[in-house]
Symmetry: C2
Subunit: 348 residues, 2 copies
């Protein structure tokens, strides 16, 4: 089953080959890249050609399914699964999606491994698509009259299936006729906000203003922001949330100005096995992402660079976590467990 | 009198022509531009070829002096003074320096206008040089054992005369043998931190790590930062401080982590006529600074941009204001008035 395409999807699956929109080239170029196995899919995830916690889960699932079709058998399966799961450390969706496809393949008869892996990858894709749709369907309710939003990084169609999570909320509200105004912070160093979120929202005709990250604080101080909605890469059992570096700063700034700060994420991003944010592995990336924009050097040689890709927002700063199963509120150790349990119960 | 050059100065005055290091081209190119009057000096200030509150005061003073030498008389003087003073609105040093040169020229005999204007501009330059030197001389004392610093934007030799203000503190401490480690946040959109602060400090052999602005918060949360020191464009009578956009965010983040936040600035930046930060005019600049890096477009067409060049940090977030006359502490309405009074008393 090929999952139905939505507005500007970030990947296309034809049952055999995975095509991804190369997100490193947006907004200048819309260039699609075909992936055919575990190695090229891992490389695409590492270089951020495909990114966003739910989306890299989907891509890795297809990557493993394609590899199983090419090289059936438990040895190559284990090798490819380890490669894909290790592509990036922070998003829980990645390892979880790979594990699901691996387990499905192993549970099948040898002759059926490839079909089982493919079916499981398509199931993950469909689930993420449904999660985005469910989040978007209630977008107007989640916003509850608040129409001027700040979002950080990209939690849209380029980060998930379907409409996205944070951008799913926004799109859902816009579709119900709400006049939302989005302030997309550019999100250094990779500029997902300026390059990707603004690109998505402008295409949808949603009012979008690009700001640098540090402009959110004066905007809030001037009373020009009603709510912050961001995505997540991993949500610990206590509600601490790892997301793109900068999220923690936006959350602190929002609290100072009494602007509610929400996380929107599929249940697949919740990791009850990680008790708190201190246990979430934080990826550090190449300093060149900071010192260069494309091939232009913006920092002198001789300077060191610190480039963590994520930070952790403590649960105390989060007003609510919006999921396809409803909204979790403090105390998160209870509400998140209940939401994950509901999801498991309904799927078994 | 030509003011003695210090390590990599940002401008050179030969008594007739003002040469400025074009800061838009750093760190890639060290290109000097010669200015000869009010119009080209105004243009250089507007396009940020010369920047930093004290430095644009000095440049504007020389710009007016050069114009008076070319076109003596009260009419051209008034016209040139208005042009230069209006180049940028936020830094108080600019209008103040222009007014001093204008008044000096008007007070002179017609035949002596040019000489009087030049002498006043050189006096302003020398005063700023001395202020930086005085701030640097006590750098090690100001830091009081704290060696891991965050600074925002550039308050160095490229923003002032001499060693700079925030970077003056740092250089002064380094010269006394303190092993300081500076985290220079890149400072979007114009990248003064990555392009200018890191360039200055690396040349001085001071350990420098470039980060994006949002990485200060996780660094502080990990206990890796001891103090924040920044410059200022205008300090109101109550201590509210306008500085490069992003300063307010760093100050909020510092308070959350109990990291002391200091402003280092010459007395020329204190504006007792402005009662509080709400009255400081905030410049909004061309959106292209946000949507482009050099000629690379990083945000899609169709997105709006909000690009305030400064924000205001409320006095309550400021642990102290370091000046050449000592450190002001809360209540600032008293301590700043005392420092400005001392300065006036000692100069009359």
């Amino acid at each position: 089953m090929a999952v139905a395409a939505r507005a500007h999807p970030a990947l296309r699956w034809d049952g055999r080959v995975l095509a991804i929109l190369d997100q490193t080239l947006l907004p200048a170029r819309e260039h699609w890249v075909e992936l055919e196995g575990a190695a090229d899919t891992t490389a695409a995830i590492r270089r951020l050609a495909v990114r966003g916690a739910p989306l890299i889960g989907i891509a890795a699932a297809y990557g493993l399914a394609m590899e199983v079709a090419r090289r059936p058998g438990p040895g190559p399966l284990a090798e490819a699964a380890a490669l894909l799961a290790g592509a990036r450390p922070t998003a829980v969706n990645l390892g979880r999606a790979v594990e699901r496809v691996r387990a499905a393949a192993l549970a099948a008869e040898p002759a059926g491994m490839a079909a089982a892996a493919r079916a499981e990858a398509e199931r993950i894709h469909a689930e993420e698509d449904a999660a985005s749709a469910a989040i978007a369907a209630h977008g107007a309710d989640w916003l509850a009259g608040r129409r001027r939003l700040v979002t950080h990084c990209n939690a849209g169609a380029l980060a998930t299936a379907g409409y996205g999570t944070a951008l799913g909320v926004i799109r859902g509200a816009a579709e119900r006729g709400k006049r939302v105004a989005v302030f997309a912070d550019e999100t250094r160093p990779f500029l997902q906000g300026a390059r990707l979120t603004a690109w998505e929202l402008v295409r949808d005709g949603i009012e979008t203003t690009v700001i640098t990250e540090s402009m959110a604080a004066p905007l809030m101080r001037d009373g020009r922001i009603d709510i912050v909605v961001v995505g997540a890469d991993r949500i610990a059992a206590n509600g601490d949330t790892a997301n793109k570096v900068g999220t923690y700063t936006v959350a602190l700034v929002a609290r100072e100005h009494r602007v509610p700060f929400y996380v929107a994420a599929p249940v697949s991003t919740i990791d009850l096995d990680t008790p708190d944010g201190g246990r979430i592995p934080i990826e550090e990336r190449d300093g060149r992402e900071v010192t260069h924009v494309k091939n232009i050097r913006i920092a002198p040689e001789g300077a060191k660079v610190y480039n963590p890709a994520f930070d952790v927002t403590p649960h105390a700063l989060i007003a609510g976590i919006i999921t396809e199963r409803g909204i979790a509120r403090a105390p998160y150790s209870e509400s998140l467990a209940a939401i994950v349990g509901r999801s498991l119960a309904s799927s078994t």
